[in-house]
Subunit: 145 residues, 4 copies
DNA sequence: TTTT
DNA sequence: TTTT
């Protein structure tokens, strides 16, 4: 009859959410999310990061744009959706996104003060202790989307 | 630190699993899986189907190739992986797949006898009656789940 | 900060849903759900069944009481809740329940016609043939999922 | 055929893992895990905490005892199991547990240094910034198990 | 108490 | 390309 299409992610935002307002007043937000996995390969600790395109609609988009920021840790629940689009050269392409159905902020409370500035190398005492997630993203910079 | 990357699907196979044997003897199987969602739009019942690329490795690939067939209902648990490849025109493309970590067959037992032919409109009486063939599965006894 | 408390089950109802109407007009439904696991132990196929107490509230309770029946296969998503109560002898006891947040009917469509009688060994021909009654469901059109 | 019995939790340990070694050398670890949910009730922010009995076996128990500690944030995936036992007065009781199948440590890296001392009111600089989760547990002290 |  |  019906089916199940469910995605559960816990990871860090690669960028601040990007918010757009469509005609009709609908809000959409999106951001890349990194989920990392570490495993041993030939006795060495290897980290593999997977990047996900997260899309949020309406009220969820507005909450996300208010509370989520680059580097923050979030739990996201949603569904997979593959859509096609035309790139600049009019070539048809496909992209798979995770359409969020709800999310929960994880980590320290201080990480989620609304309206806090996002300076990558902030000297904010609360950010100081965090691991160096954000800078390493800036360096590699090769999000596949 | 670490993250979570989990996908849970319940849907029907769009095709029989396609099995390949890589150099080194590693088996890979893949198939498209459809998850359907029905909702009301302007008083009308609309069905929206999402297609997922499922990939299975090693032992899981072998079990899948033995028991799963076009049309069957399965529960699949896995993780998202986006990989790039070059198409025939040497254009770099991305595809997102669900790498299965385990699966469970749902539905009637008769749907899962190994080696059964896949005729779309089969009039095989066994497909209409539940609980048939259960003994033959008991006899082979090698269902690893 | 916040947490995640999520349960995902696919199993068969052990009984028809039991519906109660609380003061204030709130509807609650509940039923036992069996999830079975089979594994090999000393070369023998062993089945282990786990029973879950499922509880549904309000609209979800009403839909469940209309469509779910003893023996049917369902996907249930919800959260764990342990509550205390006093038994007949005034002894404090604890019970853990799965409070359903949504559910999806799996299996053949004919399994889910509303108001069908529940005779365990029914010889009703409609239970043997797939795809029957589909139009009658289309006509009523009020399946909210 | 088969079923699905899956639990996904993100929460904080209420106590250090308790490790036991059974005859035959099997290791079992267990601890209470709190998942909190906050919602608005009559305009006020209410927090509701659910406690879960987590049980881990063998290698997973050993890893847990090494890395997990009271107050730490973890993602746990497992299955529900209700078992009966006799209490001191020989009364038969039931308890529902989450048998962990894997777990992932979340939060700051410094939270998971192995062998770190667990003093509730530690003056360890890394613990200082944490929110006051641990003390509030000590005060209420009413774990239902 | 279900189902396969 | 599946299924209901």
């Amino acid at each position: 009859m019906s089916g199940i299409n469910k995605v559960i992610l816990v990871g860090h935002l690669g960028k601040d959410p990007e918010v757009r307002h469509l005609e009709g007043g609908v809000t959409v937000a999106s951001f890349p999310l990194a989920t990392s996995e570490t495993f041993n390969k030939d006795g060495k600790r290897v980290e593999q990061t997977e990047w996900h395109n997260i899309v949020l609609w309406r009220g969820l988009a507005e909450v996300a744009s208010k509370y989520l920021q680059k580097g923050k840790l979030v739990y996201i629940e949603g569904k997979l959706r593959t859509r096609s689009f035309e790139d600049k050269e009019k070539v048809k392409k496909y992209v798979t996104e995770v359409v969020a159905e709800n999310f929960t902020m994880l980590g320290r409370k201080s990480d989620f003060e609304p309206n806090a500035p996002t300076n990558g190398n902030s000297s904010n005492i609360n950010n100081k202790i965090e691991d160096d997630f954000s800078t390493s993203i800036d360096e590699t910079g090769d999000l596949p989307f």
